[in-house]
Symmetry: C2
DNA sequence: AAGTGGTCTAGACCACCCA
DNA sequence: GGGTGGTCTAGACCACTTT
């Protein structure tokens, strides 16, 4: 957070969220910001580029940086938000149940998902259900490289694994690949979730990578269709 | 395509796709590339940042830029790829049927989606089905600001509207917001698609914006669940 | 003509990795 | 200690919009 461009980014973001720069208004020009923050224009531009990539502003040549409209509940969803973060935003009555937490040799299927080749790599399996307003609607199955998640306990799994990984273990999550499909419920889905009256299950497969480009987690998040919603913001890179 | 950093980007991308830089290998260092392309380091870095954002490489401090593995059919899907592009990639037997193409005053629902306030803005409606291997599995309902899509004909709609918009009308699509949910099929879905045996429909709502941040298109893409697949690549911006 | 963002340059110092 | 990427600077020229 000491980086100048991040400070400017956070600063402007806060001002946008506080309504100091309302939707459809222009931010101060790059030259003004350069003076305001006593920095170079390229550094200001780095901050503005970040705002643009995250969907907060649109830069228009010859005019300036316009603040974009944002539906409060839409963001941030694209990407890597954890369930805990979502829960805080939605503010509903949500509970997490930990069904499984163990470390063992992975099955062939999991070995394949995590691209493991040698046989001595142990994998930590965490299976949880998410209960919203009294109904079990999400089944999360996480698989981590064991040596990367030492000290993972049931109470952590009940709270937020990601917070633990980032804050305590200082793991630096870098990027993820997601695949969303719709499937028929498995026997496990029917046992773990309240699916009466539902014929499908939305499956989100998530492959998470660290800063050094190592794949360290595979997650299958299985949602009851009525409780599934995915929002994405994407810029076209010509 | 004259921009130096885009030339470098395209050049490296081609080399990656041709296997000159295989997965897990390192690209030449920024200093080497700077010399190779007779440019400054910041310009090289712009090209590498683009590659990184699009999921082709991972930059590792102190080491270099590693080429990431890519599943052939995965990319590019996140974001703004048109059906026509997807079709070319998948190479299946695909047909498009144009059910509706007309320009008129929009319904209240569409006015709301396109954030229209005055009553004189006309909207062009295009409804199409996509037939894959003989089955109608996707229903696309597009709504454009009429004055932005002059000259849109049925034969264009049968081919690729996006190609027409970008190549002929020179519209510059900038970004889009997507929302994916699962719903019960409507009467229109049942009539237009082959849904026997299916209980749900995947709905992708898409809001498309131009370079000047104006919302100019709203699309509802309704997929039969077995034919739906969404892939996303996302970097964590700390 | 003046102001805006888009690109590009030639340096600099830093943090990190590895031999 | 030498190489790597991450950040930052102080300029420059260009394309575009507005007055």
């Amino acid at each position: 957070m000491q980086n100048k461009y991040l400070v400017i980014y956070q600063d402007l973001l806060e001002q946008i969220e506080d309504g100091i720069h309302p939707v459809d208004s222009y931010l101060p020009s790059e030259n003004e910001l350069k003076t305001q923050y006593e920095t170079s224009r390229e550094t200001v531009r780095k901050a503005l580029t970040l705002l643009s990539q995250n969907g907060y502003i649109q830069k228009v040549r010859g005019k300036g940086s316009v603040v974009l409209p944002r539906n409060k509940f839409d963001f941030p969803v694209s990407g890597l938000v954890s369930f805990k973060e979502l829960q805080n935003k939605l503010g509903e009555d949500v509970q997490t149940h930990v069904l499984t937490l163990n470390t063992a040799q992975p099955s062939r299927h999991i070995k394949k998902q995590l691209l493991l080749e040698n046989d001595d790599q142990l994998v930590t399996e965490v299976i949880r259900t998410r209960e919203i307003n009294g109904e079990r609607v999400i089944l999360d199955k996480d698989y981590f490289l064991s040596n990367k998640v030492e000290g993972l306990t049931e109470s952590i799994a009940k709270d937020s694994i990601y917070q633990y990984l980032e804050d305590t273990l200082k793991l630096s999550i870098s990027f993820a690949k997601k695949e969303i499909t719709v499937e028929d419920p498995t026997e496990e889905d029917r046992l773990s979730l309240d699916l009466t009256g539902f014929h499908n299950i939305v499956v989100i497969k998530n492959y998470v990578y660290l800063d050094d480009a190592t794949l360290f987690q595979y997650t299958e998040s299985r949602h009851r269709p009525d409780r599934f919603r995915f929002v994405d913001f994407a810029r076209r890179h010509h």
